[in-house]
């Protein structure tokens, strides 16, 4: 008897469109996906375990290595958790610098996500244009922190250093130009009919599924769920800024992509307001904290809105200078949880479009 047979295709771990080392075992019926089994762990470094042998300050550089595309947000999440545990008051200027560098990190991450998504579905020019701006932002971050990606800029009780002379003006200038650049991305990528045909109504997620699977970030908001921690539970000084939370309607790949583009505009808005407000705030960028940090016994959970979603840090302290246990809720990892069902029924060519639209970073998935 003649009959068709399902077969298994290895997607990754050495595939450029997996954005790192990530493997999906695709069971195919012809070109349709019957089952997708994500296999992660190729980049696992055991950061949570490493943290147990490091002092509280020494953990900061490791948090960079999770979502290295928006390192400042990872830093801030961790230091705010420790500050919550110890009850440290952060100087206002440091709070502003955290917001500015954090939003700049979010911009670099979203610009990269936008560009790489264009590349994933076959548009090389859009990718290059996005990298042009990312380069400018990274130059600014480099000038501020000394590193381009792994910033390690936040410290428990503040930030490492104040801004250099004229840095804020340079940033302001770039932020003035940014809407024009975003316009270019829209013209080149968003408005492109081929791009839209590849992404619209592909990989749709309903709001209920998103909530049930605890998805967060642009993936959640693209389905129309208005939940951004910066608005819902303002941490730091986010309640002082006027910005909107962009939402999608269809919850498809296009909405997830476009949500990020719209979020870039909001980040630009926040940075511009922060630049205005920081001019009136003078003072130290570091609170007076003891050299050896020994938080009281207890545990703390703190979460912030990272570029990929909600990143949460859970720290258990046993009263010594090292965390007893650190656990990180990594948005990329959790957003991947629904991948199998999302891919079922689509064609092989859509795998890259759907995976790219979740915007994972493997450093964070594997931790």
């Amino acid at each position: 008897m003649l009959r068709t047979q399902e077969y298994v295709l290895n997607f990754g771990p050495q595939h450029p469109s997996t954005h790192g080392v990530f493997q999906i075992l695709l069971t195919l019926d012809g070109e349709r996906i019957v089952k997708a089994e994500p296999i992660c762990g190729y980049l696992h470094r055991g950061i949570e375990k490493l943290a147990e042998a490091r002092t509280y300050t020494q953990v900061i550089p490791y948090t960079d290595r999770m979502d290295y595309l928006a390192a400042m947000l990872q830093n801030v999440g961790y230091v705010q958790a420790v500050e919550k545990l110890m009850g440290i008051e952060v100087p206002e200027r440091a709070e502003y610098l955290r917001v500015i560098s954090g939003e700049l990190s979010r911009l670099t991450s979203h610009v990269l996500a936008t560009g790489v998504y264009a590349l994933d579905v076959g548009g090389f020019t859009g990718f290059l244009l996005c990298f042009r701006e990312r380069e400018k932002m990274m130059d600014l971050l480099e000038e501020l922190t000394g590193s381009r990606m792994t910033l390690s800029y936040a410290r428990i009780g503040g930030v490492a250093d104040d801004v250099t002379e004229g840095w804020l003006d340079k940033l302001n200038k770039l932020m003035d130009e940014m809407p024009g650049y975003i316009e270019e991305y829209n013209g080149l990528i968003t408005g492109n009919e081929i791009f839209q045909a590849r992404t619209k109504f592909v990989g749709q997620l309903t709001p209920e599924t998103c909530i049930n699977y605890s998805l967060s970030g642009p993936v959640l908001r693209a389905s129309g769920v208005n939940y951004d921690l910066r608005k819902a539970m303002p941490y730091g000084i986010y309640d002082r800024f006027d910005f909107e939370v962009p939402l999608g309607t269809n919850g498809d790949c296009f909405d997830r992509f476009y949500c990020r583009v719209l979020e870039m505009e909001q980040s630009v808005r926040i940075i511009k307001q922060a630049i205005e407000q920081i001019k009136e705030v003078d003072g130290p960028v570091m609170a007076k904290v003891p050299k050896v940090l020994k938080p009281p016994k207890g545990e703390v959970y703190h979460e912030i809105e990272s570029s990929k979603g909600i990143i949460g840090y859970y720290i258990v302290s046993d009263g010594t200078n090292k965390p007893y246990r650190l656990h990180v809720r990594r948005p990329s990892f959790i957003n991947l949880g629904y991948l199998d069902e999302m891919l079922r029924g689509y064609l092989i060519a859509d795998v890259v479009a759907i995976l790219g639209s979740i915007d994972i970073v493997l450093g964070e998935v594997d931790c």
Binding site: P61, E135, N192
Partner: protein, 175 residues
């Protein structure tokens, strides 16, 4: 109309085609590196008091230093960074009270051979006699501290080893 977006995209590409180049031909031309750049390390040997704060601040145990007691002071004999494990986080530079350790703008630390990777910032023999001690001796004459000069040298040699060991032990704690 279908194709409008494509035309608009092509217009942007066309405009970008005539825009000035942003890339540089790397080895010949280089971008400027900012002041705070985290590059190769330098150690100001005269300022360093061999306190070991930097080694303790390092998350990845990159720095190892050895010291010997010469006279009253600690004399830094060996300061080595296993730069292949460095995260370039800057915690060591920050922890130094004496402002002895610095980043430079040099980012090219490539080596052909593995054994050349560690960055040896100081490697020297400890002087047998305390160097600046006689000059200071002139100031505080009454103190008879410098009296047993000769036996001191023996002492110097012996405590040096335990000192190194305790250094290593302190390091192990961090692992």
């Amino acid at each position: 109309m279908f194709g409008k977006g494509l035309v608009k995209g092509l217009q942007i590409t066309w405009k970008e085609f005539w825009a000035p180049k942003l890339t540089v031909q790397y080895p010949e031309k280089q971008h400027t590196v900012p002041e705070r750049f985290h590059g190769k390390f330098v150690l100001d040997v005269d300022k360093c008091i061999a306190c070991g704060l930097c080694a303790n601040a390092c998350p990845n145990r990159v720095i190892s230093l050895n010291k010997q007691k010469v006279g009253k002071k600690q004399y830094l004999t060996d300061y080595q960074m296993n730069i292949q494990y460095c995260l370039f986080c800057g915690l060591c530079v920050e922890s130094c009270n004496k402002d002895a350790l610095h980043f430079t703008k040099d980012f090219n630390m490539n080596q052909y051979f593995y054994k050349n990777i560690p960055l040896v910032l100081v490697r020297r023999e400890a002087p047998a006699e305390p160097l600046e001690e006689p000059a200071m001796g002139g100031e505080d004459q009454p103190k008879p501290k410098l009296k047993p000069q000769a036996p001191k040298e023996e002492k110097v040699a012996k405590p040096a080893a335990p000192a190194a060991e305790s250094e290593a032990a302190a390091g192990k704690e961090g692992q």
